[in-house]
């Protein structure tokens, strides 16, 4: 049975229209016009226990809104969300006890107190039995390399240290689902790497279901086998990352370098993208095409000095995806 099921979920925000200038502000006090913003528009998906799902989309795509509906903070305008078989917003307290949430841009730690005190407060909030709490604390402290600073006040921590503490805090009560809203935002490369490895491990070893929103594609590549892509509140893609790569990302780049300019070259096996004279860039449209095929077609007699074949990176795949969005909107696997 699905641990999270969304069906035809919509969220419409009513925002007061602001008119420019002082006159507009005064008029706004008396009569208000509202514009409707459709942040989430008819989204459906189902997530099984133990999955790690990346929820990806540009700014304002409705990612955080969806997370907030799954955690019971926001109420859907229409459609249904079920988490662990319950409607989150009507069962907020029961739901909250079984999930863990990390907001990259909001701290849940007590600013003035040592990290350990915040953790201990969470022990009371979630009613974690003392032995299990001690065990979890020891394990998380070691895994996230926090020994050096659990006794320091939160305000003295670096962002990377704080984020690790936030993630540890969300896991102290052994939640069944961990929601992360942009957990690596603002972190340096090393801190990002620690967080990613840790999350992948939690998902693999503890079977914790992970839902993660991000802008950073590497997060998804390293943590989430499954990807849900949204834009403008609509679902664009839901499937395995490698599937996305296969359907859209098979266009490998081939660069041929010559000692002397061979003039224009047209090939059947590869499409010319840019011609710099001595260096020519091609796209291989077909997954099956090998370098040998290209070289056979090219034939001898050219002063070829170097060949470079590049696999498409995920950023490029996604960029292509968003650029071709209208054509691909229906292409859900």
């Amino acid at each position: 049975m699905a641990i999270i099921a969304a069906s035809g979920v919509e969220k419409i925000f009513r925002q007061p229209k602001r008119q420019a200038g002082l006159g507009g502000a005064i008029r706004g006090l008396f009569s208000r016009e509202f514009t409707e913003v459709r942040a989430v528009d008819g989204i459906s998906f189902a997530i099984e226990p133990g999955e790690a799902v990346g929820y990806l989309g540009p700014n304002g795509a409705g990612k955080s809104t969806m997370i907030k509906m799954m955690t019971g903070i926001l109420v859907p305008s229409s459609g249904t969300v079920e988490v662990l078989g319950r409607e989150p917003h009507t069962n907020r307290l029961t739901n909250a006890a079984e999930i863990g949430v990390v907001f990259g841009q909001r701290s849940q730690l007590w600013w003035d107190l040592p990290v350990r005190d915040s953790f201990d407060l969470n022990r009371h909030i979630y009613d974690v039995p003392a032995p299990r709490f001690a065990e979890n604390l020891a394990r998380l402290t070691a895994m996230l390399d926090m020994e050096g600073y659990v006794d320091r006040p939160v305000r003295q921590l670096s962002l990377g240290q704080r984020m690790r503490a936030e993630i540890a805090m969300a896991l102290l009560h052994d939640p069944k689902i961990l929601f992360l809203d942009e957990p690596t935002i603002g972190l340096d490369v090393v801190a990002k790497d620690t967080v990613r490895k840790f999350l992948a491990e939690v998902n693999r070893d503890r079977g914790t279901t992970i839902i993660l929103t991000t802008h950073d594609l590497v997060d998804i590549e390293q943590i989430c086998p499954r990807l849900i892509m949204v834009d403008d509140g609509k679902l664009l893609f839901d499937g395995e990352l490698k599937h996305l790569r296969q359907t859209l990302g098979s266009r490998r780049r081939l660069k041929l370098e010559f000692g002397t300019d061979p003039g224009p070259i047209t090939l059947q096996t590869a499409a010319l993208v840019t011609d710099e004279g001595l260096a020519k860039h091609f796209l291989l449209e077909n997954e099956q095409t090998s370098i040998l095929d290209v070289l056979t077609e090219l034939g001898s007699g050219h002063d070829l000095t170097d060949i470079k074949l590049e696999e498409p990176n995920i950023e490029e795949v996604i960029r292509t995806f968003y650029q071709n969005k209208p054509a691909l909107a229906g292409a859900r696997p």
Partner: protein, 265 residues
């Protein structure tokens, strides 16, 4: 509901205040100055008279000192807490946890209040007691009842501050509400001018509004201005008001939850 979490919130709030020790000195000094200013004003107003409308100067001095822990505890902290959490969207953090937000607020602010009592109210009261002199309670009964009234007073003001703070869900700012509440409390609670010095119709009206239970009635009971029967009766009325305000706070909270717009992403 995890009941053990709430005492823990109070303790955490208390501990977090220990970090800012300088704030204690600044608050204590500010409170001393304002208490002595009020004493000076009443001394001048009595202009050598032993009694005004049956009230002696020592009674009036004690009244204005009592009004201070009753009304001038830092209740705007509640407003800012709720208003700020709404404005920055941090209220989401509390909604993600299996806790009841109004109860969280209650325990946290009780922690703050306890801290202020220990570090500011008691020392300042001792200083004023030894320098200017304070009257003891009118009787043991009145002294004990004062503490019951104090509890009602604190909870009433907390509920009022909570109500105003929760209005920020609709108005999206708590700052104007703080001024509004402060102004109403200064006049209606009798903290600045006791109800017995007000014109009779006004005093009668204010005497039935919940604000009077924040400052006027507790002080009047302490000074023995209410006989035992009236003391019990007014405690009952105060509790009814408290019940109504608490119900209003909880209802507004329930409504706010569904209307909630989490701002800032």
């Amino acid at each position: 509901m995890r009941a053990a979490a709430y005492p823990a919130f109070a303790l955490t709030a208390f501990q977090s205040r220990l970090v800012y020790r300088n704030q204690v000195w600044a608050s204590a000094f500010g409170d001393l100055v304002s208490i002595f200013a009020r004493i000076a004003i009443w001394t001048a107003a009595f202009a050598g008279a032993t009694q005004v409308d049956g009230i002696t100067l020592p009674e009036m001095v004690t009244y204005s000192v009592l009004a201070w822990p009753l009304l001038y505890w830092d209740f705007s902290r509640v407003l800012y807490d709720v208003g700020g959490a709404v404005q920055t969207g941090d209220v989401a953090v509390f909604l993600l946890k299996p806790i009841h937000y109004p109860s969280y607020l209650l325990s946290t602010h009780f922690g703050h209040f306890a801290f202020e009592c220990v570090t500011i109210v008691v020392p300042v009261a001792l200083i004023v007691g030894f320098t200017v002199g304070l009257l003891p309670p009118a009787s043991l009964f009145h002294g004990l009842m004062f503490f019951a009234y104090w509890a009602v007073s604190w909870l009433t003001l907390f509920a009022l501050a909570c109500l105003c703070g929760l209005l920020a869900f609709w108005l999206l700012t708590a700052f104007s509400l703080e001024w509004f509440l402060m102004a109403i409390m200064s006049l209606f609670s009798g903290a600045v001018v006791p109800l017995w010095f007000l014109p009779a119709p006004l005093a009668a009206l204010f005497g039935y509004l919940p604000f009077a239970w924040v400052s006027y009635y507790p002080s009047a009971v302490y000074l023995g201005k209410l006989d035992p029967a009236a003391t019990w009766l007014h405690l009952g009325i105060g509790l009814v008001w408290l019940g109504l305000l608490s119900a209003a706070t909880l209802a507004l909270w329930a409504k706010a939850r569904t209307r909630l717009v989490v701002q800032g992403g």
